[in-house]
């Protein structure tokens, strides 16, 4: 129903190759998240799939059909934009029904489909309002409603939650995941937030400078990052990297250890250091420790670990959880 295949897809703006060449396969019903720092080409990639940008080279196959030259509307995809892109002068009802109206659907059919979508998204009471009379979360739902009425082969989300406040973002994250469970339609989701990527994805595509760094399930990426970039990008707080003598002890050019895989002690351990800043979250405490001869490292300890600024502590890496990288930044396994 909704598999998308990219073959050698590249995008060049002037002399600048935003995406040098990408091969990717998105299976039917999968929730795929493109994640990466800003400017890594993830939004461009999504727009290439949507047809809002022309590919410079390569081909895009949707459902076994070459869609490289098809205009956006004929690809059978729906998109939810970062700014929601609702039509400000139309009511919620007309906004959701707009794609159907453009497809010359019968008025009765449109009404029924809009009502169905509104019920799924809890928008029934707001159908006659204008977008500006809605809250951020409601606008987001209208945008999703406009996407689902077309019953597309796949949904494309372009950083849909970045304009919402933190609490609402967590809510909408859940709602979108729930929607995916209910509809079982392919979803491609772009974000720069690795938490969103980890929590929602079946498959994460980590992008950097227009290249795919690694593709895998969230836990794959967490446990077995292919390189320094992925190791540093996935996981929060980010992984500590140490090179030089301590890394040589593990036969690596650079060693990486996640904050949660450092054992802390006040008596003894591998590395000694002074606590710089302690961030108390309640359940956990993040310690920024100035380790002697190495530099700042982040450690994650239980919320009741008794420590304050200036304390001497000892850190011991969990030997089984150390990630090793060679001098090119690739993982050594």
């Amino acid at each position: 129903m909704g598999n998308i295949t990219l073959r050698n897809v590249s995008k060049v703006f002037g002399a600048h190759a935003v995406i040098p060449s990408i091969d990717l396969n998105i299976n039917d019903g999968e929730f795929v998240v493109f994640v990466g720092p800003s400017g890594c080409g993830k939004s461009t990639l999504l727009r290439l799939i949507a047809g809002l940008e022309d590919v410079s080279d390569g081909e895009i196959v949707i459902d076994g059909k070459n869609a490289t030259e098809l205009p956006p509307a004929q690809r059978g995809l729906s998109m939810v934009f970062q700014s929601y892109a609702l039509y400000p002068h139309m009511s919620v009802r007309s906004n959701i029904g707009f794609p159907l109206k453009m497809a010359n659907e019968d008025k009765a059919v449109i009404d029924k489909k809009v009502a169905d979508a509104a019920r799924v998204l809890n928008l029934t009471d707001y159908l006659d309002r204008k977008p500006r009379q809605l809250s951020g979360g409601q606008r987001q739902r209208v945008a999703i409603g406009r996407a689902i009425v077309r019953q597309p082969k796949a949904f494309l989300f372009d950083e849909p939650l970045s304009n919402l406040d933190a609490a609402l973002r967590v809510n909408m994250r859940l709602e979108i995941s729930q929607l995916h469970q209910d509809l079982k339609t392919t979803m491609v989701y772009v974000t720069h937030d690795q938490v969103e990527a980890m929590t929602m994805a079946d498959k994460i595509v980590v992008l950097n400078r227009g290249r795919i760094e690694q593709v895998g399930s969230p836990l794959d990426l967490y446990h077995k990052p292919d390189n320094l970039f992925v190791a540093g990008f996935i996981g929060s707080p980010r992984m500590n990297f140490v090179s030089g003598a301590p890394a040589a002890a593990y036969q690596a050019h650079t060693m990486g250890i996640r904050p949660e895989h450092l054992v802390l002690s006040k008596e003894n351990g591998t590395w000694a250091g002074t606590v710089g800043v302690a961030e108390h979250l309640g359940s956990d405490t993040f310690l920024h420790v100035n380790v002697d001869n190495i530099g700042t490292m982040t450690a994650r300890v239980g919320g009741d670990f008794p420590v304050t600024h200036g304390d001497r502590v000892f850190l011991t890496p969990d030997a089984h959880r150390v990630h090793r990288f060679d001098d090119k930044g690739l993982a050594v396994r």
């Binding site: 205009p71 995809l77 998109m79 039509y87 002068h89 707009f98 794609p99 077309r150």
Partner: protein
Amino acid sequence: MATLHTRSAARLMIAPSVLLLLAWMIVPLAMTIYFSFLRYNLLMPGMEEFAGFSNYTYFLTDPAFFQALFNTLAIVLGVLFITVVGGIALALLLDQPMFGQGIVRILVIAPFLIMPTVAALVWKNMFMNPVNGLFAWLAKLFGLQPFDFLANAPLMSVILIVAWQWLPFATLILLTALQSLDEEQKEAAQMDGASAWSRFIYLVLPHLSRAITVVILIQTIFLLSVFAEILVTTNGGPGTQSTNLTFLVYAQALLQFDVGGASAGGIIAVILANIVAFFLMRMIGKTLEA
């Protein structure tokens, strides 16, 4: 505006300017009303006497008055139609990425900066002149009889000249409005399967409605009092075919030296302008609310 004290102080402070503005407006208006009730002809100085409503009666029953009323409306509506439709079309064209965009945009504004008398004379002598004009030359090129615009279609010619002057203004306002249309909305409509025409009807036009209202309001104010273009091209003629209210009042005062009748005409013009303003404000109130 926080306390009663600051509020009354503020009122005191603005009082001089308010009074000055009031006097500025009230004195000429009062004098005009006063003159409109006098038999006051410049050819018979010292013979002024109270005339009651006879000036109004003469002005309103003058066949030229109805012609002028019609012409005024024709100029306003005709120019508005040409500038709004043409302005939207030009704005859409100028919004497209093209070579030399900056220069083209400046060139488009140029007609607006030309003085009305100059623009009208250029049109009269270089374009519409039946002997030397460009249009006459073009007609002859195709073996046609040159058309004497100002003699045969005076009102249309005036409308054309005035529209040419106001087109840049409309284009400019509509272009800036067009550029403020959210790019993602256009893309969303594209994803939703809207053709270019549907995008224009359902997205661009509603977005422009506010700017169109502003164009209509501002232009109406100025178009009600078009004068220079008529004076230098047709002089209101032939007959009264291109006379509008402003020109009729001018003719009454400075060609027939009838200050009383002209004052009455001026007051009638003010009343008519206020009626137009009333409907305009209602229309604008509606658009700006939405």
